[in-house]
């Protein structure tokens, strides 16, 4: 059965995102995909096999959503946003029932930038180069706007489960590796990156984030024309006027500006979630430490499922308790498709 998830209103830069497209940068297509892959892993932990890997990515604020034809189980993950269903507040980082006809409203982020709405079920949008996510820079897909309708084939999933709230850390020091061009900046350049006060600016998008330099700029390598070279996600590109620009999911695949360092993959999702106006700090690590951090990061994502626990709710706060289907869908003892 296919039902319709209606987008009644949409904040800016709302798109469908998944893990993106790996292995196509040599063709000119960067990975794209969710700015915060951790949030997709959280959705997968909450919704189990009913989650098909594609979520609605919301930037700074959300929108209003409704499905008239069926109850849906939804998960809210990533940046902590305010949310309610027909006025009843919902906990973030949890799975909830969205009853047929009810309106889910998601508003401003309290922590982070990118929040994710995921549905238990299959969202039917066309596959392009092995993924369904929008890649606006490449011309794949489009922003979601009010009036859009997503065809969904709902699947049964447990709802009323939550994850412990993320440890949001405003003082996080992002770990970086030397890039191919780091040596051009010399030891002074490395020290500059580690000690200069840098602030994330509002000039941030899925392509990358510009940092404001508070204080002296770095000495740019002189007399060098850098041949356009392959970009790694997380590269900190120094543009002509000395502005550091951290390249993110939808970055161009090649660039002619020198890169002073590369943010390690384990720290990139948290970097993407830093709100404009907040300071960021960087620290050089060696490859060994970066790989250890990567292994820890992968292990933490895998452990998310074990951290899912039923939400403790006060029935007195649930004015419409009797109206709730406490489990959307049915788990069959004999059909493994429905098992968690």
């Amino acid at each position: 059965m296919s039902v319709q998830l209606e987008i009644l209103s949409a904040g800016p830069r709302m798109t469908l995102q998944d893990a993106g497209r790996v292995g196509l940068s040599a063709y000119g297509l960067s990975r794209g995909g969710a700015m915060d892959p951790v949030a997709l892993a959280e959705a997968a932990a909450l919704l189990g096999s009913a989650y098909d890997g594609l979520s609605i990515e919301m930037t700074q604020t959300g929108g209003k959503f409704r499905c008239m034809q069926a109850d849906l189980t939804v998960a809210l993950t990533g940046a902590v946003m305010k949310a309610n269903v027909d006025g009843v507040p919902l906990r973030w980082g949890a799975s909830h029932l969205l009853p047929a006809g009810a309106v889910l409203e998601v508003s401003a982020a309290r922590q982070g930038v990118y929040g994710y709405l995921s549905v238990a079920g299959q969202i039917s949008v066309p596959d392009c180069f092995g993924a369904r996510s929008a890649h606006l820079q490449a011309g794949i897909g489009a922003e979601l706007v009010a009036g859009d309708v997503l065809p969904v084939q709902p699947k049964p999933a447990l709802m009323g489960n939550g994850l412990p709230e993320r440890a949001w850390n405003d003082a996080q020091v992002f770990r970086v590796l030397p890039s191919v061009q780091t040596a051009l900046f010399g030891d002074d350049g490395r020290a500059w990156l580690e000690t200069t006060s840098l602030t994330k600016t509002a000039r941030s998008s899925r392509m990358g984030a510009a940092l404001q330099v508070d204080g002296d700029g770095v000495a740019m390598p002189e007399g060098l024309s850098i041949t356009s070279e392959i970009v790694s996600l997380g590269d900190i590109q120094m543009t002509g006027d000395g502005t550091p620009f951290v390249l993110l999911a939808e970055a161009q695949t090649t660039g002619g500006y020198p890169r002073i360092a590369t943010v390690i993959s384990a720290d990139l999702p948290a970097f993407a979630q830093v709100q404009a106006g907040k300071q960021v700090r960087f620290r050089f690590v060696d490859l060994e430490e970066a790989l250890a951090a990567r292994a820890t990061f992968v292990a933490e994502l895998a452990a998310l499922k074990g951290r899912v626990a039923p939400l403790v709710r006060d029935p007195h706060q649930m004015h419409d308790l009797l109206g709730y289907t406490l489990v959307a869908g049915v788990v069959s003892a004999t059909d493994p498709e429905t098992w968690e």
């Binding site: 820079q137 030397p178 070279e229 590269d235 390690i264």
Partner: protein
Amino acid sequence: MQDSSPTLHNLGEDGLLVEFGSSLMMEANAAAIAFRRALEGLRLRGVTEVGSTLKSAFIRFDPVALPHAQIIPKIKELMADRDWLTAPMPEARHWELPSCFDGDFAPQISEFSELSGISESDLIAQLSETPLRVLALGFAPGMPYLGQLPEGWNVPRQTSLTPRVPVGAITAAIRQIVLFAVPSSTGWRQIGQAAWRGWDASGGPDQFLTAGDTLRFAPCGEGAFRAHLAAGGLLIERSSP
């Protein structure tokens, strides 16, 4: 830059870059393309991507399935295997695109002619008589960087951007041509337009030109060109450059 042995660099925590130093850009590019093919030929498990840029080849991998300690000796062995700067170009395909260098299709050809000191007719003749090599793809899906043109074409990019060039725009700077696969703003000057429809989101990667392929622009009049455009573009494969 002095000619020298290729150098190996880390690309983040899951990639390696082999950079070819040569005073001759075309030589370094041919080496990068040949090395990329050789990397593909290794068929290493755990590799997620192999590619080449203007003068480098790169490989990305899952460092758990394929640890650095395992892949680096294999890459070094390949680097030392032969003189890549004199390696023959691998097999390639050859393409031709009907193109127009008149009127609205070539808004900046007179400006480029002035800056280069080459007459417009000579620019068109040099461009259409020389099969250009696809040096690399980048910026947008399937978008080729083509070269290398004679020294006279060494005109820098303009300092202000053209707000929008169309798909198929033939743009020039620094002895190279970029053929636009998406409408875009650009610092490159548009000297013509090719009957090329860019890329097709419903197709697969096999639709793309490959680094090492050759492409020749075949000039035609505005009328014939408009007909090609209306037909959705025309990329012709040839048996030779």
